[in-house]
Symmetry: C2
Subunit: 324 residues, 2 copies
């Protein structure tokens, strides 16, 4: 059995050995750029963990796993164009470093590269792998569409929001685990269980991201605190606050949301104060734990020996422990 860190290192090591450059170089340089910048390699690592749940030999899962990571980075690349984001993981985004056309076309080429890596899986897995991948790839597009639509909507419900983050973030995590299980020769039922495990885990990850935007430590969060607040992003926090705030409190919140000319620090401070008055942090923590517990429940039902499940369980438990 490999630990999370061992598999993460393995993914990094193998990715470093890939040659993503072909001619014309300008098409491939941005792909190389987005893949060289680190990142947690969460999805390929989870894919390998799922294979490793059933098999000791995970070698044949590695290249398809890298395919999933390439796909993930391609979605970030195109999302950054659509959101006109300047920075990704501390470096200029592709459309800022090059331009929009480069970002669109190199993104398209990256998506195809992802498929090329994925289909290196053995014949017996091919149809199911490509079908899983197509479905989650489409889910990611749907999620991004909802996310953009939510920007101009003030009536987004928590249910709609959770469905959106499932599509945009959790589906690819879920799909990675399902693919890994398939490559481990798990039964279809167990593949679907690992999908659901990943779905709940992915939702919990995103809610934790929402949580840390307001309540995180800048040193460990890796992003500026309050970014979501400044941009009025419809996170679990804001949606819940909009629902719970009444009277003068709601007016204060709406005043912050509607302000076009504001001091960023003041806005973060005021909105966070309203969150505190409404007990939003407790709410989001409860929601995160709810999804973590759902994922643990599924993991418990998976029919492999406890000693093989321990690595996945440990990872989830660490996430849960961090909440309180």
């Amino acid at each position: 059995m490999y630990t999370f860190e061992e598999l993460q290192d393995l993914v990094r090591e193998r990715m470093a050995k890939q040659n993503f450059i072909d001619v014309p170089e300008k098409l491939f340089e941005p792909i190389d750029y987005i893949l060289e910048d680190g990142g947690k390699r969460l999805r390929p690592t989870l894919l390998l963990m799922a294979t490793n749940l059933y098999k000791d030999d995970i070698e044949k899962s590695i290249i398809p796993a890298i395919g999933v990571e390439i796909f993930h980075n391609y979605t970030l690349l195109h999302d950054d164009v659509m959101d006109d984001a300047d920075i990704r993981r501390g470096r200029p985004t592709v459309h800022k470093k090059w331009d929009k056309n480069v970002a669109i076309l190199s993104g398209d080429a990256a998506a195809i590269t992802a498929y090329m890596y994925l289909v290196t899986c053995e014949d017996k897995y091919l149809r199911s792998a490509i079908s899983t991948f197509n479905n989650v790839a489409m889910d990611v597009c749907k999620g991004q569409q909802y996310d953009m639509e939510f920007e101009t909507r003030m009536d987004v419900t928590v249910e709609e929001y959770v469905h959106m983050i499932y599509l945009k973030t959790a589906a690819l995590i879920a799909g990675s685990l399902k693919l890994g299980a398939a490559f481990g020769d798990a039964s279809e039922k167990e593949q679907d269980m690992l999908y659901d495990f990943g779905k709940y885990l992915g939702i919990a990850f995103q809610l934790q991201d929402d949580h840390l935007d307001a309540y995180g430590d800048v040193k460990t969060f890796g992003k500026k605190i309050g970014g979501d607040i400044i941009s009025n992003k419809k996170t679990f926090l804001l949606i819940s606050a909009m629902k719970l705030a009444k009277g003068e409190q709601k007016e204060r919140l709406l005043a912050q949301i509607n302000a076009t000319d504001f001091n960023e620090e003041d806005k973060i401070k005021t909105v966070t104060e309203i969150y505190n008055e409404l007990g939003i942090e407790k709410l989001v923590k409860e929601e995160i734990v709810k999804y973590i517990d759902k994922s643990i429940e599924i993991l418990n039902d998976i029919n492999v020996s406890e000693d093989r499940k321990v690595i996945l369980l440990e990872m989830v438990t660490i996430l849960k422990d961090r909440i309180y």
Copy 2:
């Protein structure tokens, strides 16, 4: 045996029966929009012709063939964003009718839809089909990249140009024929021959498009005459003229290319005059015929009875007859 027109009608009929709309609707409406506007349906029709070369029953090729057409339209959609084109087949482009973000994301979803259609092929064809498709999909991206790079280059050679149009246009035509042959249980050798047939045919098609931009009849061309001339597009015509023009003639040509403020009709007239002086029309016609003849040569070598080849041969002959 089906005629070209019968297969074209079959593709149109089946495409009209597809439901491309899912939720969120805004993601899928542009896909439906780009697929409802007609077009020649050349690629899926050629795919079916290639299957029909080997088999009477082409039913199982139809949905994958539609996948190829979806992919083609997706590339046009993203190309139109990159080129900031206003009109496609007489209607506003997606990024004009909606906006750029819609065009990027719906394009991404269309690419995934194309894969979903393609992988409906039978298991025995799946690996080779997806591999052919991945390769030509990547070629299309490479071709678009070269095309964009050529915009700012004045030293593009005819060889580079032909390689670019092979990647951008001919590869998908070639791939369609190869896929169709594979679904017809043709040998790998014959699949590759049909690929090469399509490659030369596709190059001839694009050169004919270049030719008609300057020398076509506005009624049958379907586009404005001289569009390539106005935008200084590095077509076979301009590249050849740049190579052949000397002295005062070259100065006149460069003056037209470098002019920032000009009357469009005057520029078309002057550049066409230079083309006429240099015998460019004869040159491009010879080049088209060269590629058509290469494609006919391959078709002759394909090991099926003459009566099955007659439809493809007729199509190529009609194209050749139109040249003179």
